[in-house]
């Protein structure tokens, strides 16, 4: 049985994590490599690093970071943020990233998905979609949710899959930061509509939310940031909780 994946997400700026964390084990709260290693030791199934650095020079520090993470970690990880060209992807993969995540650039130039899938294989191309429910249904938003578009979530998700994305990372902006649970109805619709895996994001606040996102939302993986960073939920506890609820998860010995 394929295990449901638990994926902590780290926001990176200029090679450092954006929010400090309060792990006792952590000597340097802003060091993404150390933090990633702790998550990996705790049994995270994958990690996602989202780079929010603004300038190109600062993005170079991202490559160093990816190299260090690849050297230290023995689980897969995805890198996203500001990827607009094929060369961005090849350099990240060469540094040891397993997958890349693209978002706004895919909306602005959908052929980028085809190009990346052809060049690197679908399995390493995740398309991230941020959306919010409006009076006219779920609409895709860009630039970290700041720019609304007329694009319908479900139409866009279908197109993304048809163009060769390997996975979709769906963030409900309505749920993000609320800690009141994931957008399960919408997730279930996406999951039953598509034949590629869906990573759910936005709304994790307690263990039960993960049970629901797998059982009701039919998600293949669930992403969260702050609840893991602030140690509100420890990954081993979450996994044994899910296991007791008959959800297939990888437990490490």
């Amino acid at each position: 049985m394929l295990a449901k994946r638990i994926i902590p997400c780290l926001d990176i700026k200029d090679g450092r994590t954006v929010k400090g964390v309060n792990f006792i084990e952590l000597r340097d709260a802003g060091d993404p490599v150390e933090q990633a290693k702790i998550y990996s030791d705790q049994g995270a199934d994958e990690l996602i690093f989202l780079d929010i650095s603004a300038t190109n020079e600062k993005r170079k520090t991202l490559h160093d970071l990816v190299l260090q993470v690849a050297a230290r970690l023995n689980i897969p990880f995805t890198v996203g943020g500001g990827i607009t060209r094929c060369e961005d992807v090849s350099s990240l993969l060469e540094c040891g990233a397993d997958k890349v995540s693209i978002n706004s650039a895919a909306v602005r130039k959908p052929e980028l998905i085809d190009e990346l899938a052809r060049s690197f294989g679908s399995q390493c191309i995740t398309v991230a979609i941020d959306a919010r429910k409006t009076d006219n249904g779920w609409k895709v938003h860009l630039n970290g949710g700041r720019v609304p578009t007329e694009l319908n979530l479900f139409d866009w998700a279908k197109e993304v899959a048809a163009r060769g994305a390997g996975e979709i990372l769906f963030t409900s902006m309505d749920h993000d930061g609320t800690k009141s649970g994931f957008a399960n109805k919408t997730l279930a619709r996406l999951s039953s509509m598509l034949t590629i895996p869906i990573i759910a994001s936005g709304g994790a606040g307690k263990k039960e939310h993960f049970r629901d996102v797998f059982k009701i939302g039919k998600a293949d993986a669930a992403l969260a940031a702050s609840i893991f960073h602030y140690n509100e939920i420890a990954i081993p506890d979450l996994k044994s909780f899910l296991k007791n609820k008959n959800i297939s998860v990888r437990t490490t010995t």
Binding site: L2, D45, A70, L93, C95, G166, E167
Partner: protein
């Protein structure tokens, strides 16, 4: 741990996970070489044939660099990973590709029965592990898979996994060993398997 004086070569071609394999060996204290030089590959004590990508373009690349013949003639232990494993087989449905033919098995596309997702991405359990590449610690445990094509179970299957149908998670014929999953990305369990290979 194996004899650290052994020379391990990772075959360098346009595969995505070459560096990840190098790093995994470094974590085990082994400095492997990455090379596409036939001489260096032929004289290595052990050879790792990684792989992430598409079968037909990769086979075309191997033929162009004459690495197909080099791989076929290797006598030392060889470990094929993911696409590397599939290319050791006879034929792949991925763009109707003739592979290296070292393990008489065919590579087929996953066809969902009950709306299962393809590719098969994530952690799945190994069962019926056998032979020197595995030991009892891996039976029933999770390793990391990313693939859309699979090798059916057959005479050379040394580990199995179940997704849509039972398939080969590991293969061995003579000195050619292979895993469909990524030991370099499979946590501590993957490291055990790499260690087992290094001990051969």
């Amino acid at each position: 741990m194996s004899n650290k004086k052994e020379r391990i070569v990772i075959i360098d071609y346009n595969a995505g996970n070459v560096r990840s394999v190098l790093f995994a060996l470094q974590r085990l204290g082994i400095e492997a070489q990455i090379s596409a030089e036939p001489e260096l590959i032929q004289t290595a004590d052990k050879v790792i044939f990684p792989g992430v990508g598409e079968a037909s373009t990769t086979m075309a690349y191997l033929r162009e660099k004459k690495l197909d013949k080099v791989i076929r003639n290797l006598q030392q232990p060889v470990l094929g990973i993911c696409l590397g494993m599939q290319l050791l087989c006879t034929h792949s449905e991925e763009n109707n590709t003739t592979c290296l033919g070292l393990i008489p098995q065919n590579v087929r596309l996953f066809r969902p029965i009950k709306r299962e997702k393809v590719p098969h991405i994530g952690w799945n359990r190994l069962y019926d592990v056998q032979g020197a590449l595995f030991d009892s610690r891996q039976e029933g445990e999770y390793t990391y898979f990313v693939h859309s094509y699979f090798v059916e179970k057959g005479d050379y299957t040394i580990a199995s996994c179940d997704y849509i149908l039972p398939f080969s998670a590991g293969l061995q014929k003579d000195n050619f060993y292979a895993t469909q999953f990524h030991p370099e990305k499979s946590g501590g369990l993957g490291q055990q398997i790499l260690e087992n290979f290094l001990k051969l």
